[in-house]
Symmetry: C2
């Protein structure tokens, strides 16, 4: 397995889980559990690049910014995303290092603040779909629509949330440096939360109010640094067809063709399994060896084909 | 000047100035002005490592955490420090890159999340002195003392603030990686806010509630990576003896011996000029060539000896 490179994407709500409040200790403990499996991959000789979601964490930062808004000027989403990269990167960096020490492995672990380029003309900017922050009732939503530039949308439970654009990642600004540090043998945490969204303005870059899907950024990253495996870790054991229906069927492996067929048939839920499958397909179509979707706690066994769902040619 | 290495420390209140609210645009614009001078050093062939303070920014994060505390679990200071490294690192990284592009220089700029080791037995833990967050009146301070573990202290204007330990930095956890990336020729932003404070627990590291002085961490960093020059940028043009008195005298250069004598004579203000002079002295005593204290907007001319105060052997 020497020199095989894995881009591993940790779900943000694996680190701050739905039933939790999101305290420091909860988040550190979740990371602690996840890194045990990651270290096994390193012991097996894989080079590991870690990326992660930030949904719940950036949601919390957003609430803090809103509630303190009268006293402290609220930061826009690109800045909140940068803060969440620092926060979650720190948790992961510290816990991986500690787990390495427990296993007598001397290897540096680093977190790189990462900007991800999106297209100014991405249709997502005209049609925001990604919900962030707290739920509101209709009255609050009307107030926010009047007083801010926020786009508010109602969900199926008549709750309102702010929605923001989720444009596609088209390039990792720091990819050269990421690759260099990976080649050096370091464990690199990067492109957290899908990356800080930036657009080109002339030859320069500036931040934008958006949230990039972390699985699509993980795929972009994996392609850009010529990784062999894209490993997306989430809160389910395997991918299913006809999910949550009497005809539900778990999948161990599928070909690229099968994955595309199932995707077209609408088996995968928008904003949940669908972007993971899309990322997995896109990785293979751009030269990747295999894409795996597995549970947070089965990173190691899923690489060996003993758990999770593998997509390969 | 080829291959001379400068560790450059930007004051946190140069990026978010005392008369400002601390909006996104204010902070980005201050960074924009500062990087113009920094790029000139790079054009002259210096290798530049940038570190920065985070006082006002971590103060804002702390207020956000407090005001939203009923809804979102507040993060401890090490986590806030990690967030501020992401935020300020992003600002600096983006603006340096843009200024490089404007000058047709193709050079990667990176921000490394950085942990700085402090000693569990540092006397600072028994005697917190560093004020953070908002001012309180006596009643509020009494309430906080009763309801939290905060240590509250009154200042000379009868205003109360929380004070936290400010232990001395004894090691940069990621120093090997920082050095490697500097050697590679990258512009590295690191150890922001004095670094995320961590202590050893057995062979592992864990975060602590403290704030490390950024000038002392800059010195530690400069020594650890064998830098030639320590350049501390702040909001004054030069160091003065008898500051703010009729006998005030600006200093262009001083020897190590003179600096130590003036320090012992009490010329430099605690929490302001004193730690800068201490950092400058310590750098020379540990093999550094020269230490410079200068204005944020004279980085380039101070290196040439045309502004600022230089300490050398």
């Amino acid at each position: 397995m020497k020199n095989k490179t894995i881009v591993l994407a940790l779900g943000g709500n694996a680190i701050l889980q739905a039933h939790e409040k999101g305290t420091y200790y909860e988040q550190i403990n979740n990371v602690k559990k996840a890194v045990v499996e990651i270290i096994k991959l390193i012991q097996d000789g894989y080079k590991v690049i870690i990326t992660h979601g930030n949904g719940p964490q950036v949601g919390n930062l957003y609430i803090q910014n809103s509630l303190a808004g009268e006293v402290v000027p609220p930061m826009p989403l690109d800045a909140c995303s940068a803060e969440s990269q620092g926060l979650i990167g720190y948790f992961i960096q510290q816990e991986i290092k500690n787990e390495l020490v427990r296993n007598n492995i001397d290897l540096p672990v680093i977190t790189l603040i990462t900007q991800v380029l999106v297209d100014t003309d991405d249709p997502a900017f005209m049609n925001p779909t990604k919900p962030i922050g707290p739920f509101h009732n209709r009255k609050e939503a009307e107030f926010l629509k009047k007083r801010t530039s926020f786009v508010m949308k109602e969900d199926s439970n008549k709750r309102w949330r702010r929605v923001v654009p989720s444009p596609r990642p088209i390039g990792i600004v720091e990819k050269e440096v990421i690759k260099k540090n990976v080649d050096e043998g370091y464990i690199v945490v990067t492109a957290g939360g899908g990356g800080i969204p930036v657009i080109n303005k002339g030859r320069e870059i500036i931040g934008v109010e958006a949230v990039i899907d972390k699985d699509l950024s993980a795929c972009r990253l994996a392609v850009d640094i010529n990784a062999n495996i894209l490993l997306i870790l989430t809160d389910i054991e395997r991918v299913a067809l006809n999910y949550n229906s009497p005809k539900q069927k778990w999948i161990d492996t599928m070909s690229l063709g099968e994955a595309k067929k199932y995707l077209a048939e609408g088996h995968f839920k928008e904003g949940s399994m669908k972007p993971k499958i899309e990322a997995g397909i896109s990785f293979l179509e751009n030269g990747g060896e295999k894409s795996i979707i597995a549970s947070l706690f089965s990173a190691n066994s899923s690489i060996k084909g003993k758990s999770g769902t593998t997509i390969k040619n």
